[in-house]
Point group: C2
Chain length 322, copies 2
């Protein structure tokens, strides 16, 4: 098949591209970043540096590509620090989604995948560390804590009507905190697992085992290893399910527990300096996987400890010569 | 002042433009329609036919215009019939708002007005004909019945962060059903007041006094006469209030009552054929004007009967030679 991957220079898109290439598909990747900044560069793909929100150049790419499937992973995002402090820029990602939707109407790929986020969920359902896991219907009525989440929620509805009014076959997954090797671990856009590992590795190297922690560390999340994410995306595309669906692990952990796990891998004991003014997002968030098990007969299952150890080893390797 | 009016070829934008010209401002109007389709063409303005969602041509217009104030009335909309059946297209209006917001960041007009809508409100608060009037906080948690409303709600938040993160002085009004002379009264995009008047005038002319009504006619709304709308926009711009605010009449009427009023003006008695499958939107909607009275010391006050009679006379004039 001819496959277009928007944001394929990023973390998740890069892994999906790798998987598609392995399965002998003809892959075109579009990403706004210079290829030197792509998380992975696959020489077998057609790699294009382009802002996916620009209609005319994307029209040319769609026209030439004759795509069977389009995967839209492109957006302006990062961890909670980035998303809280750059609400406006996160909101502007909508332009990628409108451009892609309009071109889908014009060029009619067989299927289109839209990557939504657990950030769509109503913040009032996530106010305690042991809040009930979020089921898909908990997005409505809507009150996301970030414009990032409201943008995703609006785009979900836009893609729903892309399906309903224009007959495009749409798949929508709400990703919950995807992590793994080859992800961002420094610079301000990294997410909690990679940030925890980096901080612990820095503590190990410096010998100063005091680690800065955002918040009191008791806030909770679940984290999905990238391999589960790629499998889930593929299974969802092969299904006939067109409504938004959770794609995340339901293994809950506190942010402090996540740091402690990284410290265990490093073989050190750390003490925490709690920064209670740092961005923390909602208090507790987990994925209810009832629906995905029903629909796909499958759910993410890679234990956090397994995925975190692989991620730890990769980040340690990146940082070893510093 | 140098003033830019997006959607100034449309109904509300045309009246705001007229008011600004009357007050000796230097007005530039941008509208996607050919000028022959503009609701009003003001020869004193700089009239530009342009899709306001396109960044590059709009960049040129902003650069040359050196605007003090920007009024964003441009969107793809109509009455309930259009909005229910064209959800995807209504959603795409977001592109106008992102383009305008990005250019506001770049060219920094002193103030920007964004026209939101009562369609942002949660549909579960509008399920009966005598639902309580909607106060501003009733938009959240969110569950608009139309993508049109969700797009407006997302844009309100985007413009909020345009203010907060980029220091642009933003004004946001939630319009409730604006009507008056020079508005659409046929073709599928007309709203209830004009549709009721046209149907009654057609019945009068044909002698067949049976009138088609969407729904059972007991659904309720409030309607704001265009003159109140223009005054409200001006007063809001002169205020320092930056949160979304209702701009609408709180004089509630049923859709059947609206038709009966038109029949009274025509001097005929009509009977109704109720089309219960036609689009009707929410069951009941009214504007709570507590906040606008507090903030502006003013609220829309032109009686529906006064505005409807003027509108009736104008539509009757348009239709008299058919």
């Amino acid at each position: 098949m001819n496959i277009l991957i928007l944001g394929g220079g990023g973390f998740i898109g890069g892994f999906v591209a790798k998987n598609k290439i392995k399965n002998n598909h003809n892959v075109t990747i579009v990403d706004i970043k210079d290829t030197k900044d792509w998380y992975q560069v696959h020489s077998e793909a057609n790699n294009i540096v382009q802002d996916a929100s620009k209609y005319e150049p994307m029209d040319d790419i769609f026209k030439e590509g004759n795509f069977d499937e389009v995967y839209n992973f492109a957006c302006n995002m990062g961890g909670i620090g980035f998303c809280e402090l750059n609400q406006f820029d996160c909101g502007l990602s909508i332009e990628i989604n409108t451009t892609t939707a309009k071109l889908a109407v014009k060029y009619r790929p067989k299927k289109i995948f839209y990557s939504s986020s657990a950030c769509v969920y109503n913040e009032t359902k996530q106010t305690s560390a042991d809040s009930a896991a979020l089921k898909e219907s908990d997005a409505w009525p809507a009150q996301p804590d970030l414009l990032y989440g409201l943008e995703k929620l609006f785009s979900e509805r836009l893609y729903y009507y892309l399906g309903k009014e224009h007959g495009i076959d749409v798949r929508i997954a709400r990703f919950h905190n995807v992590y793994g090797p080859l992800g961002t671990f420094e610079g301000g856009r990294e997410k909690a697992p990679a940030a925890a590992i980096r901080k612990v590795l820095e503590a190990q190297k410096s010998g100063n085992h005091r680690v800065n922690m955002w918040g009191d560390g008791l806030q909770t999340r679940s984290f999905m290893y990238i391999d589960d994410c790629v499998i889930g995306v593929n299974r969802l595309m092969e299904s006939d399910f067109t409504d938004p669906i959770n794609l995340g692990s339901d293994e809950l952990i506190s942010i402090k527990g996540l740091h402690d796990m990284a410290a265990d891998f490093a073989g050190i004991k750390v003490e925490y300096d709690y920064d209670l003014t740092a961005p923390q997002g909602v208090r507790g968030r987990n994925s209810d996987n009832t629906l995905i098990k029903q629909v796909l007969g499958w759910a993410p299952s890679i234990p956090l400890k397994v995925g975190m150890e692989k991620t730890f080893n990769w980040i340690a390797e990146q940082m070893k010569d510093r």
